[in-house]
């Protein structure tokens, strides 16, 4: 009789495991409960035992393969030379196991699976757009396809010239891992008072309806001006030697369909407001088309803004080469106690992640103080 050995659900946070080594060769006998192969989960290396005794007849996966829980890994038979059907029927799965979803986002259809895991909203949208769900890669829990995944897939289909997303993702994975592993991050958070900046912006937008300023533009300009006032933050440290920078360039984190782009903007505070606004609009416009303007050197301050999504606050990972990154949330109304009375303020929570090898908390706090000053005097 044939027995199919499956990958048990051994992980604590993931439901797949890597095959480290086979402990038995085809044809070898093993007793019930005897280890058959060694696997590596997210937490530990451990043995998978045979739930039944018999002879190993066929390995269905190789050393180094990642195998999702409850997928077959080997076939055993009761006797050493009996004939057996190599076809492996899908196992009856426990209720908690979600069908593994093919991660490739290429146009080739994913292997046929009976049911692709997708959120109901994603299914509805995919149906409307005529998208085959099996071709969409899921980013939700255990590969669940979300509505955003379908939207992203549709966007990729509409503009085939956009850069291959997988490469961008890989690059981002490598960059962020390197940064978090090598840069000692620390975080300083303040509520920036945006009242004066909002007032300036309202006046400006009324005067210049063809060259409107966004809140992000205000933040970028004020941050650059503050950077120019913060020599400790605006120094490039190479081999233990500090090089002060004459310009206060910044690096904008820009979201495009296929991921994130880093767009350098030279000295945003140095030009007149209209010149700056024209420049930043051109830079962001060409970035969205996949063209990133070149920079002589990586700016030392990056800026990321999730305010347009209603995010209150977040902390960001420092792009390698930068000393700090400013993460801005949405501007919101807040009542504060000031001058012995309650005042309604426009507030934006900003968190600076900084590299403690280069700057300390005082330097970052002073930078934020200067940023508030410049927001008040745009």
């Amino acid at each position: 009789m044939k027995h199919v050995i499956i990958m048990p659900d051994l992980g604590q946070t993931s439901s797949e495991a890597k095959i480290v080594s086979w402990l038995k060769k085809p044809g070898e006998k093993l007793a019930m409960g005897e280890p058959l192969l060694e696997v590596e989960t997210d937490k530990a290396t451990m043995d998978v035992e045979a739930y039944v005794g018999g002879f190993l007849r066929k390995k269905l996966a190789n050393e180094g393969d990642m195998v999702a829980a409850s997928n077959p890994v080997a076939i055993l038979t009761d006797t050493v030379d009996e004939e057996f059907d190599e076809e492996v029927r899908p196992q009856a799965k426990p209720a908690t196991v979600v069908e593994p979803v093919e991660r490739s986002q290429s146009a080739t259809p994913a292997p046929v699976s009976s049911k692709v895991a997708a959120a109901p909203a994603a299914r509805t949208l995919a149906k409307q757009l005529g998208i085959e769900l099996s071709a969409v890669s899921g980013t939700g829990a255990q590969g669940l396809i979300t509505k955003t995944d379908v939207e992203r897939f549709q966007a990729g289909r509409a503009s085939p010239t956009s850069s291959p997303p997988k490469k961008g993702q890989e690059a981002m994975a490598a960059l962020t891992s390197r940064s978090k592993a090598t840069i000692p991050h620390f975080y300083v958070t303040v509520d920036l008072d945006m009242s004066a900046a909002e007032a300036w912006r309202a006046r400006w937008n009324q005067d210049q309806p063809n060259l409107k300023a966004s809140i992000n533009d205000c933040l970028v300009r004020a941050a650059s001006a503050a950077l120019a006032d913060s020599p400790k933050l605006n120094q490039r440290v190479v081999d233990g030697k500090a090089e002060p920078q004459s310009a206060a360039d910044v690096l904008l984190v820009v979201g495009i369909d296929s991921g994130l782009l880093l767009v350098p903007v030279a000295d945003p505070h140095a030009d007149a407001a209209d010149v700056f606004l024209q420049r930043i609009k051109t830079s962001l416009g060409s970035a969205k088309e996949g063209k990133v303007p070149s920079a002589k050197a990586t700016p030392l301050l990056a800026i990321s803004n999730l305010g347009m999504f209603g995010v209150k606050e977040f902390s960001a990972i420092i792009p390698p080469g930068c000393n700090a990154i400013l993460a801005a949330g949405a501007a919101r109304n807040q009542v504060v106690w000031r001058n012995d009375r309650a005042e309604a303020l426009r507030v934006c929570t900003a968190t600076v992640s900084a590299d403690h090898r280069v700057v300390d908390g005082i330097a970052v706090a002073q930078f934020l103080e200067r940023m508030q000053f410049h927001l008040n005097s745009l």
Binding site: D9, L10, Q12, A44, M46, Y51, Q91, P94
Partner: protein, 310 residues
């Protein structure tokens, strides 16, 4: 007692096999090797006594006499389970049958058993409560607070520490300065003793004596049962932190083979009896698995049942 121990062991082995076949959902904390603790203690409890357990409760529940069908169905998350399929591996038990559904929080069962003991005393009932906990629980504040309270009020409760040497992967010697858990009893002014937890009769005798003491109003006892789990802490733990020699040494002290060797030698047990017990236990487990797999899942509309008191 021998058949009960076999039922505990083969129940755990069957659960492991079902897990490896992917037929049973979830992870599991198994207790192979600790059968003498579960059976020795439960055999000394009477009807109306109350037991609380831990995140490793399968053998306690089997030993307390909760039907294996309802335990197996619970592991399959079926509505015929002891918690109607909504508790799972770490909440085995049935209060009507003398065991509260287990509490997975480390040390969580200690104050509950003591609460039962207080109610028994207050209502002048002849019953006692007992709580199992691991060596990992004895450095929890709740252990100290509860044992002290039970001691000053002479409550009829037995504190039973299954010392299997490892709190998950932490060796007890590295987190406790005294040599034995039972040494702590003197700090509370109650009796404490360390017992060979792989000798079912030693465990039974000690529990019986401590139980009589508690029933006669003399208060709690702290029993430390020295034992060992053969498997890792859970199915995601290979247990590599334990030396191979140590595992091998404890395998020799396996409570079931020890029992068999001793009584086969004395002629009180025969190979035929062993074989027939094993066969009948396997049959009982086959029936339990068939019952569990053919039972219905809980209905969505039942999800709020048993949550609030009406």
């Amino acid at each position: 007692m021998y058949r009960k121990m076999l039922l505990c062991r083969l129940f755990e082995d069957r659960v492991n096999s079902l897990f490896l076949q992917g037929r049973m959902p979830g992870t599991i904390h198994q207790a192979q090797g600790q059968e003498a603790c579960a059976v020795g203690v439960c055999e000394a409890l009477k009807e109306g006594d109350m037991l609380t357990s831990t995140h490793r409760p399968h053998e306690h529940a089997v030993a307390r006499g909760i039907p294996v069908k309802s335990l197996m169905a619970e592991l399959f998350a079926k509505s015929t389970g002891c918690c109607h399929g909504k508790g799972g591996s770490m909440h085995m038990g049935d209060a009507d049958l003398g065991m509260l559904p287990a509490i997975a929080i480390v040390g969580g069962g200690i104050p509950l058993a003591t609460g039962y003991a207080l109610s028994f005393k207050y209502l002048k009932k002849p019953n006692i409560a007992a709580c199992f906990f691991g060596d990992g629980a004895v450095n929890e504040g709740i252990f100290h607070e509860t044992v002290n309270m039970a001691a000053i009020w002479d409550l009829p409760v037995l504190f039973i520490c299954e010392n299997n040497k490892y709190g998950a992967s932490t060796l007890i010697d590295s987190v406790m300065k005294v040599k034995t858990v039972s040494a702590r009893a003197s700090a509370y002014g109650i009796p404490g003793s360390t017992i060979d937890g792989n000798d079912v009769f030693a465990v039974f005798e000690a529990t019986l004596q401590a139980g009589e003491r508690a029933r006669s109003g003399k208060g709690p006892t702290l029993l430390e049962l020295e034992t060992y789990r053969f498997a890792g802490h859970s199915r995601s733990d290979p247990g590599h932190y334990r030396p191979k020699e140590e595992v091998a040494e404890w395998k020799i002290k396996d409570p079931i083979t020890r029992f068999e060797t001793r009584y086969l030698g004395e002629g009180l047990l025969t190979d035929e009896i062993v074989a027939s017990y094993r066969a009948s236990v396997e049959q009982e487990l086959n029936d339990a698995v068939e019952f569990a797999e053919s039972s219905p899942s809980p209905l969505p509309e039942e999800c709020l049942a048993d949550v609030y008191v009406e």
